[in-house]
Symmetry: C2
DNA sequence: ACAATATTCTGAACGCCGTTTAGTGTCTAG
DNA sequence: CTAGACACTAAACGGCGTTCAGAATATTGT
């Protein structure tokens, strides 16, 4: 009998409804506006009901954040589609950075929640750590490894290179969404330009070539 | 009569006592532990008293953040002292990055408050914008400009270069203090190493020199 | 020295928050 | 048709930021 299955489905539906309500409140009004009561009002249930589906606010936020990383994944795939499947690793690397910046730009409040929160409660929950940013990080490491293998990047360690590249774009995005940029770079366009310029600079380096002493063979 | 002056001094003393109490609570127990009541208890006054010295919690936090940037300034000066006054601009630039990273490392909770908060309430307060990060940012721009002038860096625009360099170090620090790094880079030493490596990489570039097409003269 | 005044401080309250619990209805199974 | 499982909620608890009437204290004028 499909009766238990229907109950199961309804339960799951309400669960995702709660997560979506939370996500929408954050996107529309910021994290401060997110309360168990505001979620409850939006989905037209009592606040207590939410606790039948989530242990506490932290667990609920964990799911919201998880959904955020899924959404960021869509940005990445979209950007990768633009450059096409045959692009070299360095070009793909640029796509990843662009996607990251675009996501931060278009999901400011969401981005902040994803990266500024105490976080990572259910990572230590025992189960395999197939969670949030690590998934995308693996993709970045992979891309950079391929760039190294193709001789496009000079790096001993792809993982370290990935952290550096991540740090660069994340730092710019982070400063942008927190409003720490002067008005001259505070516009969306100039932010995206800045990220492009930053990836250029990371590629070619600050120090002019001719001043570098040649390596001993 | 010095009586009004003494009152003035006492008023100022209690004001800074409040700010210091807030700063200590954040450093010891994190931002979540900071409440008007916890501050009041620590300084042995009623919570209501704080409102005689600060409009609201936001204004108080603004002063705490301001003090934080002063403290970061001390880190910078200390690090600049290490390399000495005669160092070239590129070396000084490295010092700035190192100071930034060390500050984040040794003042984790404080760093987060300084950069992750809605912020900047009294910047728009009308008066001259001689506030927090911009002060230090000017120093960074200056250093990079000197590096450009000395031919150490190849950049059209020192301000853009400063944003990129800031973004790189800030991003790594930001990811570190938020716990977004895998355990292998989560230790203080490896974090500092990573920042050094990152500044190396930004200097020399990801792309090997010989693959770069020479500029048209 | 004392009354009048100005200043500093606080107790108690308001409306929010996250969370718990006891109890309400409603649907299902035998 | 009834007994039990289930989904749900009203109400409360303690903590939060904040306000305000009034107590306590310090300063002044005489």
């Amino acid at each position: 009998m499909g009766i238990a299955e229907r109950r199961e489905r309804e339960k799951e539906a309400l669960r995702t409804l709660i997560v979506e309500a939370a996500r929408d409140i954050i996107s529309e009004s910021g994290l401060d506006a997110l309360s168990m009561r505001s979620i409850a009002e939006r989905i037209e249930y009592s606040p207590a009901t939410i606790y039948l589906y989530f242990r506490d606010k932290e667990e609920l936020l964990g799911e919201v954040i998880h959904a955020g990383f899924d959404r960021m994944g869509e940005y990445i795939e979209e950007e990768l589609t633009v450059v096409g499947p045959g692009a070299d690793a360095a070009v793909e690397h640029r796509s990843l950075g662009r996607a990251y910046a675009r996501f931060a730009l278009e999901n400011t409040a969401y981005f902040r929640v994803m990266f500024e929160l105490p976080t990572v409660p259910h990572v230590t929950d025992g189960e395999a750590c197939t969670h949030k940013p690590e998934r995308k990080a693996a993709l970045l490491v992979d891309t950079i490894q391929r760039a190294i293998d193709a001789g496009l990047y000079q790096l001993e360690d792809a993982e370290t290179g990935a952290l550096i590249a991540w740090g660069l774009v994340h730092g710019l995005a982070s400063l942008y969404v927190s409003g720490h940029f002067a008005p001259s770079v505070a516009s969306p366009e100039s932010f995206l330009n800045l990220v492009e310029k930053a990836m250029d600079t990371l590629g070619t380096g600050l120090v002019p070539r001719e001043t570098l002493t040649p390596e001993v063979p």
